[in-house]
Amino acid sequence: MLHWRSNLIQINAFFFKIWLITRKRIFHLFEILFWPAIGLVSVGMLTRFLHLDSNMVAFILIGVIALSVVQIGQLDISYVILYSIWNKSLKQELAAPVNMLHLIAGSWLMGVIHSLLVLIILSGFSAYTFGFRFLDQGLLPIACFFCGLLLTSAAVGIVVCALAFRFGGRAHVGANSIVSVLVLLSGIYYPVEVLPAPLQMVSACIPVTYFLEYFRSFYGFPINGSHTLLTGFGLALFYLMAAMAILLAAVHHSKKSGILLKMSE
């Protein structure tokens, strides 16, 4: 009982840390709200310029919203480590009896709240400005779509943390790179069928591809293959576990090689 309670407090520590960072660093709040809004407005304007019909507008704006959710969800997990590296306080924090599960769970929880906030704001904004009503599909499809994206964002965030333990504060470059690959290969702005065949095979390994396909099916776009949602969740969970294993290996390496100490000097 006591053990569980102390574990929950330790998870809460990282939630509290991200809450403080969000509250105190205006730049972080800016990253959470400003860029997703800019992304939605600029792409929305492009759909107007191209005179796309409402289904095509939905196709593209779903992609923009999905990208924002993944981007924001991973941001808080990445920052829980990157912020400590920038402050050189990592060894002080990791000297406490916490483990990576506490760290990921606490920061991801805040990532879920921030992502939900972004989802609500972008949905409202896209309905008001571009007439795309994201929330009309009902709670279950939205929940499935959102949960899938959150799992993917957690995997991305954990990989960025692992990169941070290996390469220090420069790891945020990795976050941008991973999200850029998602933009290119998972069909954020176009169907994956337009990609060359070898890249389509890579797309088939990215969970976001399936979550987008699932949600776009409510707007009349076809689903390729069966068990789309199941495949998406299966892949997302696989990447989540793989990312966790990579993170644990990176932490072990940093304690073995002394990188952890170097990052705190």
């Binding site: 002080q92 406490a96 916490v98 304690k255």
Partner: protein, 321 residues
């Protein structure tokens, strides 16, 4: 064989850092053996790069050793790392904590990392801010605090979990004498009242001498000597300096080298200054020679070996000595 009487028990601990491209690996710790009893204050001295911080990092679970055996509070440093981290804590001189968290937020956050419930965190926060005289700075962010206040906050943070072993890496470096004395006073109090074992590294010899019962001198990853400050001072061959003031000293002063082997650097009618190897053997003949030559002695001052002399002597000593 682990002992419950010992806070720290190490046998043959090795740590090698991999060399960077083209450079050889760095042997930071070589076969370290150490035993520190519960409630002791043990100081690690040594030149820069001797392995002090590496040793403290290994003991506090931040760095994995390559070989050897070790126990902290009776727990295996290879198998019980998380449990050990819950029982120990550390503070380093160049304290780095989250830079825009206030004093209260920092203590609250670190209290959470140690799994303390809210009521306990609040109680500890009040107690520690008072103990380190931080009450007036509770809302100030870390990056707005002076060096001394940062150091006090780092120490307050290190006591949140009532550690059984406290590792302090140069805790008073760069502080003014007033804050240094405050911190030393608080640490002594902590050791006496709670029997907290303190492992301390410092470059301040007076700190090492005043604070610790035993001192280990580390050089190139090896303990060259572990003893009390007094034993260390006695262990080195040190020439004491004898300064005699008075009148008519010059006549005998010029003969002292022949009489008892003392080498004099100053010989005037009013003052003689010379170095001797053994006070027991050489002081008496010097004084006799002076008295017999009609000198009038007003004052004698003898400069003893300091821990600083021990440090220099051991640092300059080659491994083959």
């Amino acid at each position: 064989m682990r002992s419950n009487e010992l806070a720290i028990q190490l046998q043959g601990i090795h740590k090698t850092y991999p060399g960077r491209t083209g450079s050889p690996p760095v042997h930071a710790l070589r076969s370290i053996d150490l035993a520190v009893g519960n409630g002791a204050i043990f100081c690690i001295l040594g030149p820069n790069g001797a392995g002090k911080t590496t040793l403290i990092s290994v003991l506090s679970g931040l760095l994995y050793p390559d070989a050897g055996k070790g126990y902290v509070c009776g727990l295996d440093i290879f198998g019980d790392r998380r449990k050990i981290r819950g029982l120990v804590n550390f503070a380093s001189g160049h304290a780095n904590l989250p830079d825009n968290f206030s004093v209260d937020e920092t203590l609250n956050y670190f209290g959470m990392l140690y799994g303390l419930p809210k009521r306990e965190r609040l109680r500890k926060g009040d107690q520690l801010t008072e103990f380190f005289e931080l009450e007036h700075y509770r809302k100030i962010p870390f990056n707005h605090l002076s060096t001394g206040l940062k150091q006090r906050l780092a120490l307050a943070k290190s006591l949140l979990n009532d550690p059984r072993v406290l590792f302090l890496d140069e805790p008073t470096v760069g502080l003014d004498p007033k804050v240094t004395l405050l911190i030393r006073d608080r640490l002594r109090l902590l050791n006496q009242e709670r029997q907290t074992t303190i492992i301390l590294t410092t470059h301040q010899m007076d700190e090492a001498e005043q604070m610790s019962e035993r001192i280990g001198f580390l050089k190139e990853g090896r303990f060259m000597r572990i003893a009390s400050a007094e034993e260390l001072k006695r262990s080195i061959r040190f020439q004491e300096q004898v300064t005699i003031s008075g009148r008519n000293l010059a006549a005998a002063g010029e003969q002292l080298q022949n009489i008892c082997g003392a080498s004099c650097s100053t010989v005037t009618q009013q003052r003689i200054s010379c170095r001797i190897d053994s006070r027991q053997k050489q002081l008496q003949p010097i004084l006799q020679a002076l008295v017999q030559s009609g000198a009038f002695i007003e004052d004698i001052a003898i400069t003893q070996a300091t821990l600083g002399d021990v440090f220099v002597a051991l640092a300059e000593q080659s491994d083959s000595d």
